[in-house]
Amino acid sequence: MSTRKEKEFQKIMDEFSGYLRSLVLKFNLNRLGLEAEDLMQDVRLKIWKIIINEKKIDNPASYLRKVVETAVLDQIRKIRREEEVFTSERQKLISEIEPKTNLYHNLDCSPKEYILKAADSLMDSRKTVVKLYLLNMNLAEISAYLNYSRAKTRNLLYRGLADLRTTLKEMGFNYEKKRR
């Protein structure tokens, strides 16, 4: 096995580990007992096996895709199982402590609701691109997801964001941080 491949693989996995850590923090997956390292270990091993057996596998790229997709499906199923337990436990606690609380209060006026309402009013082609941008996807990821060329995605995104800003302004929603 060449050390170049090893080094390159290690570099990619380090980057990916950073991504997973930020995801775990962002969505507070720790509450479900999940750690970025746990999520990574299994996949790291599977991918490494494919790389070292590359010459023996007919189509390593498609095999890699299949293996990683299966791993991610397993992980999502695991997250859903843990989440179900966590949610039902929490609901129990909430109903014991505060039985009359309306969980759905205060949803209408959140900044997210304002932005989503404004995004829904955009023209169809721009709406989808803007929504994917709001879901943290970058230009390359949006064009791959929607099968659009980069130029078309960029065009739709810039125009869509400009429309979104105008609509939010018309709605009287100021989302920019106040400067001192």
């Binding site: 790389i51 859903r80 997210k112 995104l157």
Partner: protein, 232 residues
Amino acid sequence: MRKRDDRLRALVSGDESNELRLPRTGCPTPEELVYSFKPEASSEIKEKIIDHLLQCNSCQQEFELVRGYLNLIEKVERRVLRKPSNPIQKIARLLITGPALLKFAAISLLLLVLACSYFLLLKPVKDRWVERTSSLAESFSLLEEITLSQPATIRLIWKPVDKALFYRVEVFDHQMYLVWQSPSLKETRVELPNEVVSILQASPYFFWHLIIYTSESHRLESPARRAWLSPQ
């Protein structure tokens, strides 16, 4: 992208207000989330999932997980599995990963190749490229059947392409704004929906082009073709 747009994004993705996790009964299955990333997934499915994600933090976290893994696959494929197939790629790889002496040799070789290509190859290649482009446009044989008497119909027709798995058509108005995108098509013709026809009738011409999917990761795009609705 402007900083204030990033702020919009932060407001949407950072809104874990009251951390509500609703029951997952209406959520897409994990398989549907993964499928939505495939090129053959219809735009309706993608739009449905996107709308759901914006309302459901749990699905959003799973979607980001899938996105991360697909990026990982792409990186491993590109940087580890695929061997450099031509000399330029090999030199590029050496430049990135090789030791200092090899890097120096690779840079010298690259400069030599570039200098030779400039004097010997640049013009002929340019000419060939132009020829290839025009012949490529003809090879798609894009045609329209337009009937303007009521009810108006527009049919877009093209020649079958070897190894095509499916096709997609994109229609733009006279200012090149996207008006309609077809679902995945197996046939080599498509009739535009009535509402699209009525939008297009507002201007004397429109543009369209064909996207041909030959495998999961490869596609060809025809040049955009102008179609006149009224006599020129």
